[in-house]
Symmetry: C2
Subunit: 419 residues, 2 copies
């Protein structure tokens, strides 16, 4: 096979370790100079690819690339932009191939979640059709942990660790003062459809008296009566009640709790914010003093508390993607395969993009306790290895030394294009 | 001086390092067995002292006491309970002295903020009056950093570090995706009256293009027009805008932003939550996509990201309190004195409880930029040393090994008393 250039693009919500995947891809490419020439990165993901806004990563030293391993966010920029179907959207796919051809790019590494796997799959098919063969390899990433086929998703383990530790710490605080102060603490986490992140909060404790005493999953319709009974029981038995609530929790009729018509004084709808709704229900029905926190982006950018296992996996899928590409495997994606729970053993194996695209993996019912408010031992066995190990960034003067790469765009060869 | 027992009590909101102070007090007492007999801890602070709910800390090994140094929350429990004035409340002060006398307690270490300094001061005076002399020493603690006399407050440095790092990390995330996703990110921090914690967010970056582009302080009335102009300018110049907002920010007429009449669908007032109000204003007036986070208790319990300087100071004031007590100093409190900014040098010195009680130290105007939205170099020089150094807790299986001390109460000698 002849020497070709490569293009790496980040897609969708970023994670604490997506840059470790970037480092894995780029460093592995550098190990194969006879096969891979220039390694480009697209600015702001697929948008940059379509606009021919490319960065030549040769500009970065090995040390800079290594520093990506400890830097959260998306170093080259990412985007929320879904390519439509091939039929509706021939122009954009055609443009993408033009950009690849203009820069002699034979390898495309597309780092994202389910939507991105779908895009990568389509690109992997269109190259042949348009007579510009490109080896298109997906690289998995999502904090939501909702990709099928792979045992877990790079990015999730670090969120899980952050959420479990945060719940543990805040609950120690609440417990200290519950007699005269806050009795109910509500912590909202991400996960619009799948409750994996909420479930991770369950690792903060074990047993009915340990926090979180309640987890509210998107997979379980909100049963206000059972919820309030459990809150009261917890406060009466333990002195307080810590609650993890997923942003995606819904009423039995399907409406999101977060969309419960919260409005400010000006009549602005307050979107997001399930935690204040849950806290408000507790206050109104039981009268307990409450506090609430909303983690929002902090949970997916908290590189300072990343899971070492997650970091290793994020790096490994990046490296393996390059190996798969060099083996000529088009339309595939490296995934994490679990070999054993305890001690945890895993390896990277190969899956088809077609099997990954557009499928969301929800929490199995067997991972949720019968009452719907906790995680089972089976779930715990699944989650525990994913948060193992600490992988601290270097610090100077009290702050993490995150790197910001200068993004100098290469000269364009094509006419402008507005996606 | 004869051998006497000692009592340690935690008061008010707990911090990530208040237990390090407890460890400092207890370990220093243990170094002086000829002077100090039993070291009691009050369960739930002053309430436990009044109820004669005491723990004998001899039950704990040196290793357990050392583990307090890396455990957040209040190990013996704390409370929000302010003793009234001596005149209105003779019964409670009298009871307190009875409890001290019943257990031969000659040293009282009262670990709290401004209100607690006031209580400790009163107790230090009443002993003589009631003919039971007790050496009462305050020990400073508050995340709010609003105590006078001391250069900084144990507990603050760790919150400051957590807030700065969180702002830095979330902003990297927002910046990565701003073109097609969130343009304005709002992070709410504690600080009802003083803006020290909000100011710490300013350490995340430096210069107009670096995050946070806006800080909203309780000391500066909210100027909606100037705020919106600054948001727009930041989004246009930098692509996004990160905002730190203190829970204590007020409208020019004095109302809290957080009390802007936010109600849910049931008409429940949503107390707390300045961040959604600020985000709602941005959305309504400028139309930018936003996200918001509320740190709440996470910021004051995040022992996983404590400042090493803060931890050292929290320990040192505990140790010094015992030395002051053994020197027979009644009605005093050890404080942090700054000797140099850079490299940072500090020592513990001695202050009068009377000078500490009931005074709140606000941010000086010279610490806030002219436009009211940032911190000055002078402020930065003050804050930077306080977040220096990392002091990670030990981990096992991916989680911090926080200790939970069993709280076995000693036999009571007095009749029950309901404060």
């Amino acid at each position: 096979m002849s020497r070709k250039n490569a293009l790496y693009a980040q897609s969708g919500g970023v994670t604490a370790v997506i840059n470790a995947t970037a480092a894995g891809v780029i460093s592995e490419c550098r190990l194969n100079p006879d096969r891979i020439g220039t390694v480009f990165a697209a600015r702001n993901g697929i948008l940059g690819a379509l606009r021919e806004e490319l960065v030549d990563t040769a500009a970065y030293t090995d040390e800079q690339i290594a520093a990506l391993r400890h830097t959260p966010g998306g170093a080259f920029g990412s985007c929320r932009f879904k390519l439509k179907g091939l039929e509706e959207n021939q122009a954009e796919y055609r443009r993408l191939i033009e950009v690849l051809a203009a820069h002699d790019i034979g390898y495309l590494f597309y780092n994202g979640g389910g939507d991105s796997a779908d895009t990568a799959y389509k690109v992997s098919k269109i190259g042949d059709e348009l007579d510009y063969p490109v080896v298109c390899v997906g690289v998995p990433k999502t904090i939501d942990n909702d990709l099928p086929v792979t045992d877990c998703c790079p990015g999730f383990g670090s969120v899980a660790k952050y959420v479990a530790v945060s719940m543990m710490e805040a609950s120690l605080d609440v417990e200290s003062m519950a007699e005269t102060s806050t009795k109910v603490f509500v912590m909202e986490v991400m996960g619009r459809h799948a409750g994996w992140i909420a479930a991770a909060g369950g690792l903060a404790g074990n047993g009915p008296d340990e926090p979180p005493q309640i987890i509210l999953f998107p997979e379980v319709p909100f049963d206000q009566e059972a919820f309030l009974a459990r809150v009261r029981q917890s406060v009466e038995q333990t002195g307080y009640c810590s609650i993890v609530v997923s942003e995606g929790v819904r009423w039995p009729d399907g409406r999101f709790l977060a969309d419960s018509g919260v409005k400010d004084a000006f009549g602005h709808a307050q979107l997001g914010g399930c935690a204040p709704v849950v806290a408000g229900i507790v206050k109104a029905e039981l009268g307990y003093k409450y506090h609430w926190a909303v983690l929002d982006y902090l949970q997916r950018s908290a590189r300072h508390l990343a899971s070492a296992v997650d970091l290793e996996q994020a790096t490994a899928v990046g490296q393996e993607a390059v190996r798969l590409a060099l083996a000529g495997k088009n339309s595939v994606i490296p995934v994490i395969e679990r070999l054993a729970d305890k001690p945890y053993r895993w390896k990277v194996s190969e899956a088809q993009l077609a099997d990954m695209a557009n499928v969301e993996k929800m929490m199995p019912r067997s991972f949720i306790t019968e009452n719907g408010f906790g995680i089972t031992e089976e779930c715990r066995r699944y989650l525990e290895p994913l948060i193992e190990g600490e992988a601290y960034p270097p610090y100077a003067a009290g702050l993490p030394q995150y790197i910001r790469l200068p993004l100098t765009l290469i000269d364009q060869k094509l006419d402008a294009f507005a996606p």
